[in-house]
Symmetry: C2
Subunit: 478 residues, 2 copies
Amino acid sequence: MEWQPNRFSHLTIQQQIIDWIKQRIQSGEWPIHTKLPTQRKLAEAMGVNRSTIVIAIEELVADGILSTRVGDGTYVSNNSWNVLIKSNHLDWERHISSSIYEPNFQTIQLINEYEQQEDIIRLGTGELSPELLPTAALQRSLQNVQIAARDIGYSEPKGSKQLRHMLSQYAMKRGIHASPDSIMIVSGALQALQLISLGLLEPGSTIFQEAPSYLNSVRPFQSAGMRIISLERGNRDNNLLDQITAMKGKKQSLFYTVPTLHNPTGSTMSLDERQELLQICASQQIPIIEDDVYHELAFDEIPPSLKSLDSSGQVLYIGSMSKTLSPGLRIGWVIGPEPVIDRLADIKMQTDYGSSAFSQQIVRYWLESGLYDEHIVKLRAQLKRRADFVEEILRSRFNSIATWNKPTGGFYIWLRLREPLVNKALFLKLMKQNVLINPGYIYDAKDFYHIRLSYAYASFEQLETGLNILYEAIVEGT
Amino acid sequence: MEWQPNRFSHLTIQQQIIDWIKQRIQSGEWPIHTKLPTQRKLAEAMGVNRSTIVIAIEELVADGILSTRVGDGTYVSNNSWNVLIKSNHLDWERHISSSIYEPNFQTIQLINEYEQQEDIIRLGTGELSPELLPTAALQRSLQNVQIAARDIGYSEPKGSKQLRHMLSQYAMKRGIHASPDSIMIVSGALQALQLISLGLLEPGSTIFQEAPSYLNSVRPFQSAGMRIISLERGNRDNNLLDQITAMKGKKQSLFYTVPTLHNPTGSTMSLDERQELLQICASQQIPIIEDDVYHELAFDEIPPSLKSLDSSGQVLYIGSMSKTLSPGLRIGWVIGPEPVIDRLADIKMQTDYGSSAFSQQIVRYWLESGLYDEHIVKLRAQLKRRADFVEEILRSRFNSIATWNKPTGGFYIWLRLREPLVNKALFLKLMKQNVLINPGYIYDAKDFYHIRLSYAYASFEQLETGLNILYEAIVEGT
C-alpha cells in the first residue's frame, strides 16, 4: 500500500482517505468481508495521524460501507453502497478456506511478512546477504550473456540443452555421472519437491525425513495429502531400519534428506551413515531425495554425495543456484533415472512451461566462463568469516545458556538452549524488538529448545546487536 | 540423446554402443523396465546403420541385460548384470502411474516432442516465430537492465514491487484500475491457472468453459480433480444461463474464458456478450477467470476487458508477456481482489518462491522505456501480413473443402473442414510428412472438423509448403 493523500488538494485529507477506501471497494479490490489493515498501519502508510484515520473510518461505518467488530478490526460491510445486490457478491473466503492447499504456518507467514521491513534484523534468514550476492558481477555479466531466438521461445521440457550439458560436466565434480537427458532444470529446489509430490506419489504416500527437517517449514507434500514421518537419527534403541519398517504404510514411500550441511542443523552425514542409509532404503525399496543445495559452501572436505554412491537409480538428486549465486535466478536442477526425469519434465511443462530462459542463459554463462567457481571460492571465505564472528559472540555470551556445534559450512548454527524457552511468545517478543528468528518449532513442532541461527544474512553489526537482544530476551525468560 | 560412437576409437562401433548402454543402466539412468528408444531412433541419433544397433542389442539380450517383447520394443531386463539383487530395484513405474497428475494427452506429448525437431513445419504452434521475437533488441537491452541486490534475493510474495507498479499503470490502458497490491507476478498464464486450481478450489469443483477450449489441452484443473463442463455458445435453444443452472454442482464453480482473440477459435466476444456473461455469472455467484493474453495483438478496436466492466471483484484477470514479447521470460500476472491475490501469492511462495528476478527486471525495463509499446506496433503489423498471406492461400486452395473466419488479430485461424476428417490418423499422416498440426480434438474431444492454424510460427515458405501438404492429405482422405 503506497498511496498517500495529497496535501495540496482542494479536498480535506480525511475526504481523500474516504474516497480512496471507497475506490478500492468499488473496483472490487476489497470485496465484502475484506479485513482492513489496522488503523495504526493505515496511518503509517498514509503518513497521517491515526485520529484522521479514525474519523474517516467512522464516517464509512456510519454510511454502512464498513463495519467494525470490537477487538477484531474493520471489515468491508455486507450492506455496502455498491450497486450490486447482496446475493451477487462472491464469497471468495469460502473458496480460500476449502481449497486443497493449506495456508502457510502462521509463524512462517509472519516471517515472510516482516522480512520485507527495512529495519528488521534477520537472525534466521536462510539466504545470502545482499552484500554476499555478486550483484555488480551479475550486472556486468549481462553484457556477455548470449541470447538466441531459439532460447527465448518455449523451452524444451527438460530445459536448455546447453545448460544441461554444463550441469552434466559440473555434476562430475560431485562424483555424479549423468547425461544431459537425465537432468532437468527447475525453478529452484522447492519446485523440484512440488513436482515430485505431484508426479511420483499417490495421495497417502509416506515421506520419511529426519527430525528436525526443513520440509516442515514448506508444504509441497503435506498439501498433496502425504503422510510425513520424522525419524530420529542417532537413537541407539530405535534404529532407522526398525523405525522405517514399523511406519512404512501400504502405499509408496520416499526418504527426504539433506545429508550435507543440513537445514536447519548444519550437520553433515559421514560416509558410513550415507552407506547405511542407502542400504536401508534399498532393502525397503524406498527412493531417496537428496537435497544437496549447500554442499559448495563447506569449509572443509565433505563425503561424496548419496547420488554418486548410487548405482541402481534409487536417488533423485536436487541442486540449486539459490544458496550460492542468487535466489532471484530461480534455477535449480534434478538428476535421476531418465524415465523419472521425463515424467517430472512433462509435469513441469503442464505447470509453468519451463523456467526463465534468461536465468538459464545467465547460469550457463557463469558456469562456462569460470565466474561461478571464482565466486564460490570468495563466498566460502566470506561465510567462514561470518561463522567465526557469530561463534565468537556465542562463546562470549551464550555459553551459560546454550550449546552448539562449530559450523563446518553453509549458513546455519543450530543453537540449543538449556531450557525449552523457544516458543511463539519468544518469537513475538523478539519481533516487537525488530529481531526475527527462525524458532526450532518450525522444523519440529515439539521442539522448544532450538533456534536456527543464520550467519549468512544480517550484517556484522546487525548480527552483534541481534544476538545481544536475543540473549537479553532469553535471560529475561528464565 | 546426443552421444555418438567415436569412429577413431580402438573399440568397434558395436562395442562402444554396448558399453554406452551398459553405462546408462549401471548409472541408474535407465532403471529396470525402462523402454529403450526404437532401433530406428537409436540408429539415427548415433549416426550408425540400424543393423549395428540390432547386433548390439542382440548381444545385450543374450547377456540378460536387455529383453525384447515382440512388437513392443526393448526393455532393461529384470535379471540385469547389475550387482544389486532384484528386490532392491525400485519400481518407479508404479510411482508414476498412480500419482496425482495425469499424463499429458498423447497427441500433445507428440506435438511437444516433434516440435523440437529441426525440419518440422509447425502449422499450429501458438507461439511467436523466432523471426518475430525481438531477440537482438532483448540482447541489447540487457545492458540497460538495472539489477539491485534487493531484487535478486528471494522475492516478495507478489513479485517485484517496481514491476507491479508498472503493470498497474499498464493495466489502465485496458481500462483496469488496480493498485500494485492487487497484482501478482506469475511464471506465465498457465501457472496462474495452476495456482487458482490449488488455492481457490476444492476437489470436485466445476470449471465452466466454452467449447472448444484451450483448457482441454492443458490440465491444471483436471489433474486436481475438478469437473470441466463445456458450454455451447450461440445456441439459441439452450442459453448460457440455463446450461449453467442445470450443471452447476453443489460445490464451487468458476467460469474460464478467453473473451478476446480466443484460443483456439480467434473470435472476440462483443460488448453485449461480455455484459451478458458478467450478469449471468454474477447472478449465479460464479467467479470468472479472464484470460487476456492476446488482446494487444488485435488488428482493430476491441471491446473493453471483462475486468474493466467488473465492479464487484468477480473477475480474476490474467495477462502475460509470452505471446507478445518472449515466452522464455516466463512472466505473466494476475489482477483481482486483494485477499484472493494474497492467497495466490502465498501458494506461489510455497510452490516456487517467486518468478525469475532477472525476467521481472527485463519486463519492467521494456515497459518503462517504451521499448515494449514500440515492439507491439511492429509485431501487430507483421502478424497482419502473415494472416493475410495464410488467408490468401486458404482462399485459393481450401475454398471447396473448408470454411473459416477472417482473422482479426492474435495467432489463429480456426479452419473448419466440410467433412469430419481431422482425426488422429490425419495428425499422424501429416507428422510423417514433417507437418505438425493442432487438431480440433485437442480442444474439444468430439470435434473432428477443425484444425487450429497458427500464422505466428512457421516461416512464409513453410506456411505455403505446409498448407499444400495439408490440402493434399485432406483431399486424399475424402
